[in-house]
């Protein structure tokens, strides 16, 4: 079970790998689309990589609810619990 800090760090690495964005830019309050400029296709790649990394399932219909990095961290933490 990963802590929220570990999930955030892991997610930041995944975002970095997909977009080249600095891991420091990936903060809980950042919006994937508005702040990090991540499009829907990159978002799906990030979601699939996060599923694998954290061993969780994130259904397609949930993806649109993950607006901020914090939303994703909470979702993953809850899914792992």
């Amino acid at each position: 079970m990963a802590s929220n800090e570990e999930i955030l760090a892991g997610l930041a690495e995944i975002v970095n790998e997909e977009t080249g964005l600095d891991t420091d830019a990936v903060q809980l309050d950042k919006s994937f689309t508005d702040d990090l400029d991540i499009d829907s296709i990159s978002m799906m790649t990030i979601v699939v990589n996060a599923e694998e990394k954290f061993d969780v399932k994130i259904p397609d219909e949930e993806v649109k609810n993950l607006k901020t990095v914090g939303d994703a961290v909470s979702y993953i933490a809850n899914a792992q619990a």
């Binding site: 296709i41 799906m44 790649t45 979601v47 699939v48 397609d60």
Partner: protein, 351 residues
Amino acid sequence: MPTELKLAPTNAGSRFLGLGAYRGDVVVTNDDVCQWIDSSDEWIRQRTGIVTRRRASADVSLLDMAETAGREALEAAGIEGAQLGAVIVSTVTFPYATPSAAAALADRLGATPAPAFDISAACAGYCYGVAQADALVRSGAADYVLVVGAEKLSDVIDNHERTISFLLGDGAGAVVIGPSETAGIAPSIWGSDGSKWSTIGMTHSMLDLREIALAAEADPEGSALVAETEAKLWPTLRQDGQTVFRWAVWEMAKVAQQAMDAAGVGPEDLAAFIPHQANMRIIDEMVKQLKLPESVAVGRDIADMGNTSAASIPLAMHRLLQENPGLSGGLALEIGFGAGLVFGAQVVVLP
């Protein structure tokens, strides 16, 4: 004891004998598209890898495109239309529910009375056709089969919507498949997932269209009624891009792997990878997932053609072979996937 039925002679294998192509005659740029949707050349290139898409003029029909591609494939194969044992057209844009495009095409090509039929498997349609032609040839049901993927997608799009229309182009690609002593087409991996039926498809059915038309006929203000509903009158394509993207990359990578396993080959044995040309980012991600070495030529025809559904794989193959004739005789992994959802893949020897 009843008289024993005669066993038909069979063929050991089948292979591609010839290839043909038709590309829409009108070049539609990203700037053209931006007259209809709020976007930019840069945005479209980045999201899709598409620089231009080719569309056919109003006076070029789906059958015209199919005929051009079919004639080139017959010529390349060195056979006459009359030698065809079957004609299969894969399309979702022939404007008649019946009769089929294939029957008309067979007649145009001098193949009458060959069996002729259409298949509806959208972007997997070409691979479905190859699977059927391979089976027909090996079973001895036909010696030569023409498979054509032909689409005039510009007839079923709404240029002002943003999910799919701006990706699409018009074209036709054709292969002649015939008997072979060795396997020129490895076992097909094909299937469907109708649980995702609504993720790509038409906005509404022909019955809805009839209802509006009948209401308009009965109404003295009929023409006004039609004008009001015009945007919704003609069914056009939509997709749920995110869901389709996930399925196309991660599920289809598994299918592609199965096709290589069924053929008894690995990525290092391939000369080319020719996936359905849906989106450059799907192609790039699949190449990554399949861990294809740099030596494998990858079909990237989408940059100029857009997504032409059933025609996209044979068009991309045609272009790869034109630009690099040395690929001829090499192995190609071909995989189609799309509305249904449906998928089909096979490793083939390039003609």
